[in-house]
């Protein structure tokens, strides 16, 4: 293990997230793949929740940071072709689950580091979802192998996420009139653009380098007791906890936590859905963004699915609010679970059982 890089990555994500809150982001909202993408969806007009619209430079920075470091190290490769449509649907499911919980798995850890015990419920759901996903993997679930893109058009698509991120960063930095900007609510709260961008770029580069992924981390631990990726998250948690305690953001309990609700069943089931979908898609929301940056067009489809999922979640009142999860949200999670498990059953290679094949 490359401990210096792992420790640095954990600190940049943990400490960085808390500092972003200190400099203006909403509570426990320094980094979040799901909520930030949702705000970006709002900025692009994919939903009309006018308090949740801001093209967050943090996750745009992840994409660009991953792209830059991968390119510098000669490892940018435009590749894909592993069932992009299924990955799009899994992206939607991941986002719907995360918006019912109110955060991606990374934010669940950040919420816990500030004393929000609902984070624990979410992580328990996420872990259970991954356990179900693993059963599908063991039974032969496979979306097929990605190939290097060789034709010009397909190759160009590998660069699109980085180009789109760059374009959005420039637009948000110059208050472009074609983007939506919330005047009130969480969308209006943000750290200075340059600070968000710098944090995002560094975090994205490091996330690419370490290949950190929470669903992959739990999966590897459950399958073969590998703790490489989990160690990044442990360091992240400790740094964020220390920073939250130092800055007075730490408040232990379930109630009245920032951008959170206390409907435990739906906190659990939300990230449960995200856990299954992430395991089938081969990576959590953060990892999909980083992979999209380094040229993986399948991950780019998954990110597009997440953006569309965020749009639908807010237009149809599926996303939770601090008041809880409405009926639509509950139905959407159950529907998401049905669709995701169906994908788990359908995309299965026929592998001869050992008893018969031997």
């Amino acid at each position: 293990m490359n401990w210096p890089i792992l420790i640095l990555t954990g600190i940049v994500f943990g400490l960085g997230a808390v500092l972003l809150v200190r400099f203006g982001n909403p509570g426990n909202y320094g980094f979040c793949a799901a909520c930030h993408l949702r705000d970006i969806a709002g900025a692009l007009g994919l939903h009309n929740a006018n308090t949740l619209q801001y093209a967050r430079p943090e996750v745009l920075g992840w994409v660009l940071g991953a792209f830059s470091l991968a390119s510098l190290q000669g490892q940018f490769r435009a590749r894909g072709g592993s069932n992009p449509v299924v990955r799009f649907i899994l992206g939607m499911a991941m986002m719907i689950g995360a918006l019912v919980f109110l955060g991606c798995p990374l934010r669940a850890i950040l919420r816990l580091s500030a004393g929000d015990l609902n984070g624990l419920t979410g992580i328990a759901g996420f872990l259970s979802g991954i356990s179900i996903g693993i059963i599908f993997l063991k039974r032969g679930f496979n979306l097929g192998r990605a190939k290097l893109h060789t034709s010009g058009g397909a190759k160009f698509f590998g660069y699109l996420p980085a180009l789109a991120a760059l374009q959005l960063i420039i637009s948000v930095a110059f208050n472009a009139p074609y983007l939506n900007f919330s005047a009130k609510g969480p969308g209006s709260m943000h750290a200075p653009v340059w600070l968000s961008l710098a944090a995002g770029l560094v975090a994205g580069g490091l996330a690419w380098k370490t290949r950190m992924c929470l669903s992959g981390g739990f999966r590897d631990f459950l399958l073969v007791r590998d703790t490489y990726m989990l160690s990044v998250y442990a360091i992240l948690f400790v740094s964020a906890l220390a920073a939250n305690l130092h800055l007075g953001f730490f408040k232990l309990g379930f109630d009245k936590q920032p951008l959170a609700h206390t409907m435990h069943l739906w906190n659990f089931l939300g990230l449960f859905l995200t856990g299954i979908a992430a395991t089938l898609a081969g990576g959590c929301p953060l990892r999909q963004l980083v992979l999209a940056g380094e040229g993986n067009t399948d991950a780019a489809f998954c990110v597009l699915g997440m953006l569309v999922g965020a749009g639908i979640a807010h237009q149809l009142n599926i996303a939770a609010s601090p008041n809880g999860v409405l009926f639509n949200g509950q139905i959407a999670v159950l529907a998401g679970l049905i669709v995701t498990t169906a994908i788990g059953f359908i995309y299965r290679e026929q592998i001869t059982p050992i008893g018969k094949g031997a």
Partner: protein, 92 residues
């Protein structure tokens, strides 16, 4: 990679030899099938997370087999139609 390295003395020179080889698979299911087959044939095998230098994505598992067993292991897996990507690569 501690514990996987073995130092041998040869003509007063210290040469570091990798004592294990890695086999990778297109899916987790193939890796588990390979593990079961190799164990059936009494070959020491350990499933590990796919080494980061081998795969751009982080999906999948790899099997780690002793250097001495690699040929036998590959022939067992090939005869049972286990799909493999890297067949016995050494990883630094």
């Amino acid at each position: 990679m501690d514990g996987k390295w073995r130092r041998i003395s040869h003509n007063r020179q210290q040469i570091i030899v990798m004592s294990t080889r890695i086999i990778t698979f297109p899916s987790v299911a193939h890796a588990f099938r390979a593990e079961a087959l190799l164990k059936q044939h009494r070959i020491n095998v350990r499933l590990v997370a796919i080494p980061r230098s081998l795969s751009a994505s982080c999906e999948g598992l790899a099997a780690e087999v002793d250097q001495a067993d690699i040929e036998t292991a590959l022939s067992v897996l090939e005869s049972h139609q286990v799909l493999m990507l890297y067949k016995g690569i050494t990883v630094s």
